[in-house]
Symmetry: C2
Subunit: 224 residues, 2 copies
DNA sequence: ACTTCCATACTACCATACAAGTATGGCAGA
DNA sequence: TCTGCCATACTTGTATGGTAGTATGGAAGT
């Protein structure tokens, strides 16, 4: 434990990261009851750092703290998910337009490399890897236009969005035309076709949302 | 104290809100050194709720916690401010476009009422009141298109943006053509002219940023 | 059988003590 | 005078005991 502790700086931070990972990956499904005491035992730390992580996760909307009653992993709020998608669409459309104006060559190369790895992951049907690569792909885009603050904001909202993506992956581990869209996006940036790039991005980020009603019917206990 | 405590639910939450208000209003200027102990004394609570608020404020980027060294009110990061403005522009342009598609009549009336109050505040040169009304105006817009989650995200980013607005207000308590733009925006929504509305909004949210270099030169110790 | 009440076992919240890292000022020695 | 060391007084991080509010199950009364 000491090793991972040093990595994340403090026990509180470690617990925070671990819990967040477990929540987003649905290892801790929505609605799961937690408690400071219980969690402190499983992580072999005192209640203080646990409480600290609870506060942070509650602020991100991943935990719901009911004073003197208990703490639960928050249910997925469909409206919240749609809004997260909405925000991400607006911001990424604007970012990809910026990329069409100017984009550093090395970052473009990184995206190409990422694309190759995506292809490999698809062949191997490695969903988890594909997930990470997709995220990295978009991250590079933000790095290229130097809007990392924006990316970080998106990441926070994505905690909710990602839970539905994980859920969907469990039903249909199919990555559709994400890869193809990524490829087209690079092309659009290269040819500085902002309108095209924006259109592709919009489609790209509209895909996931159509699944939401299906998921809500399949896992009603996970939704608000 | 008990009164305000009940209002905000818990001591930790109270300290959080008070500190946040003091930071955004520059009552606690950027760079100010704080400590859990010191703050706990001024608020007459223990270190625990203070620490809780520190964690939350640090996550929002308003505090900078250096382990075993101290805690300071974060300096204003010009890049961060510009990104906050960028995000707000993108999101609010999209929202006002939605408003042009459909907008409830009662919310439109609320905006009209708000506009009247703005006019009064301008006559009385009440900057603080004008500030609040401007914020309320935009809030109503988000309420009308039911994108409150988006509004809340913007509010968090605005903590940084608002510090520069407060600073600017101290140099030049002039509200320029904000009022006129608000008026035109209502007109655009009423006539369902999305392109016009978007253009006005863009101008509206571009104004403030031009002042940033001036502010940085005038108050260099407040900036990164 | 049904309702009411209460003991009990939870919960988050808060205060406090201790641990460990860091800045600082003064003192000793060259 | 200048340099290096060290005691000391900070800082945040962690652990723990106690408090008040809440859910729950069983016993007593109707």
């Amino acid at each position: 434990m000491d090793e991972t502790l040093l990595q994340s700086g403090s026990a509180g931070n470690l617990v925070y990261q671990q819990l967040k990972q477990q929540i987003v990956s649905l290892e801790l499904p929505p609605g799961t009851a937690l408690s400071e005491k219980e969690t402190s035992l499983t992580f072999h730390v005192s209640r203080t750092p646990v409480r600290e992580s609870f506060v942070r996760l509650a602020q991100e909307g991943l935990l719901l703290v009911l004073p003197q009653r208990g703490t639960r992993v928050s249910l997925i709020d469909p409206d919240m998910v749609e809004e997260a998608r909405f925000m991400r669409e607006q911001l990424e459309k604007a970012v990809v337009r910026l990329a069409c104006e100017s984009f550093p060559a090395d970052k473009l190369q990184e995206m190409e490399n990422n694309l190759v790895m995506q292809q490999e992951s698809m062949k191997q049907l490695d969903g988890k890897r594909m997930f990470e690569l997709d995220e990295a792909f978009h991250r590079i885009l933000f790095e290229g236009v130097r809007k990392m603050g924006t990316w970080n904001v998106i990441q926070q909202m994505n905690a909710h969005l990602n839970r539905t993506r994980v859920l969907w992956l469990s039903l249909d581990p199919h990555w559709g035309n994400l890869f193809e869209q990524h490829r087209e996006m690079i092309q659009a940036i290269r040819s500085r076709n902002a309108d095209l790039a924006e259109r592709i991005m919009k489609e790209h980020l509209t895909l996931s949302i159509s699944n939401l009603p299906v998921l809500k019917q399949r896992y009603p206990e996970y939704f608000k």
